[in-house]
């Protein structure tokens, strides 16, 4: 009777003693890329504090925008290394949270899967609201306003605006320092057309930043009977046309 108990106890003790364990220096890294940075790189450092080697089975990022790299496939006891996560910023703004799931052959299930988190706070240099204004075909060509506000860390004092379409007139109305209103007015709304308005700031002087606002004359609204049917269990559909603007069918 004593032998099986002893064997069981010894096997447990040996398993614990021979454990593999990756100890991570940090599993959450917060980055603050500067305006103009194309990438943000996080280095997740680890050390094998166990007694056996650890093999990486997979390292997967939650987003196609993040590339991961391990320095080695096997981490021997006492060895140090890092998992590098390179986040491609692209045209993203605001706080971005991306996770990297690391799977190893650690027999302890709580240690075998590690979730690393990369947080990147991408400063929005110029807050533009809205970035899109539209009129439906035949609608009265009323002026629409877009507000622009420079971030504190982006001390732009002046902006310019350019359009590649003769059909849209745009005007900049300065407000408080670092704030502007852009007024956009179409000359003709009789048929669909659009333009991208290029907004340029005077900061940074050596490489002024560009932003875009889109203006569009959209297709006319079809009569209600021709619109796509909505299933009863579909999300509630609200009309996108402002109430004050009658649809072409109503005119």
């Amino acid at each position: 009777m004593k032998t099986p108990i002893l064997t069981f106890t010894l096997s447990i003790l040996l398993a614990v003693a021979a454990r593999a364990e990756l100890k991570w220096e940090q599993n959450i890294i917060e980055l603050h890329p500067s305006a103009g940075d194309k990438q943000a790189v996080a280095h997740f450092k680890y050390e094998n504090v166990g007694k056996t080697a650890v093999h990486f089975k997979s390292v997967k990022a939650s987003c196609g925008c993040t590339a991961t790299q391990t320095q080695k496939e096997v981490v021997n006891p006492g060895e140090k290394g890092e998992v590098t996560a390179t986040f491609n910023i692209g045209d993203r703004t605001g706080q971005q949270v991306k996770t990297i799931t690391v799977q190893t052959d650690d027999p302890n299930p709580t240690q075998a899967t590690m979730i690393l988190t990369l947080k990147a706070n991408i400063a929005q240099a110029l807050e533009i609201k809205p970035t899109f204004v539209y009129w439906t075909s035949g609608e009265e060509p009323k002026t629409k306003k877009i507000s622009l506000k420079a971030a504190k860390e982006f001390p732009a004092k002046d902006i310019t605006i350019k359009s590649n379409s003769q059909n849209f007139e745009s005007k900049i109305v300065p407000g408080k320092p670092g704030e502007w209103t852009v007024e956009v007015t179409p000359k003709d709304t009789s048929h669909p057309m659009g333009t991208a308005l290029l907004i340029q700031t005077d900061y940074p002087k050596e490489a002024p930043k560009s932003f875009y606002v889109n203006a569009q004359i959209t297709n006319p609204m079809p009569p209600p009977m021709l619109r796509a049917p909505v299933q009863s269990n579909a999300p509630a559909v609200k009309t996108a046309t402002p109430a004050a603007i009658p649809s072409p069918a109503a005119r």
Binding site: K129, T136, T218, M221
Partner: protein
């Protein structure tokens, strides 16, 4: 007697909470950073397909995945090239259309992020995220 029973109930409740608190603390780094998408902002493949030409499909996946395959007629609109792709997408949008955004699967965040930018920045209405994403669309179309 009554107070004793209430006291014992509290003790049992407190003891029951201990493992939960411990687990919450131990797995604090594994907590989800994203709140779930509200049901009102989700649409199923069947619902979206029933909208027919009243729906405009937006593929929020990276360029290479869109190039490999996508929902027929879908527009590529990802945050890697947001400004450029938005300019290509908007001329095809009209206020009567419902926008259905998808990424790889239910777990990906790209569709949610693109839908949010379309609502907040471009101020489009009727923007939905496809439940189950491209994976689910694939299952229903095989």
């Amino acid at each position: 007697m009554k107070f004793r029973a209430v006291g014992e109930a509290f003790v049992i409740l407190a003891l029951a909470c201990l493992p939960a608190i411990g687990e919450g603390f131990y797995f604090r780094d594994k907590a989800s950073w994203q709140s779930p998408i509200p049901e009102s902002e989700l649409v199923t493949v069947d619902q979206a397909r029933a909208w027919g030409s009243g729906a405009i499909w937006v593929d929020a996946r990276p360029d290479n995945e869109f190039a490999a395959d996508h929902v027929p007629g879908a527009f590529s609109l990802n945050e890697d090239r947001w400004n450029e792709l938005l300019r290509q997408f908007l001329p095809n949008w009209s206020p009567d259309k419902k926008v259905v955004v998808y990424c790889s699967a239910q777990s990906c965040n790209a569709a949610r992020d693109v839908a949010k930018r379309l609502r907040d920045e471009a101020q489009l209405k009727d923007v939905f995220v496809l439940k189950g994403g491209w994976e689910e669309w694939g299952k229903k179309n095989r």
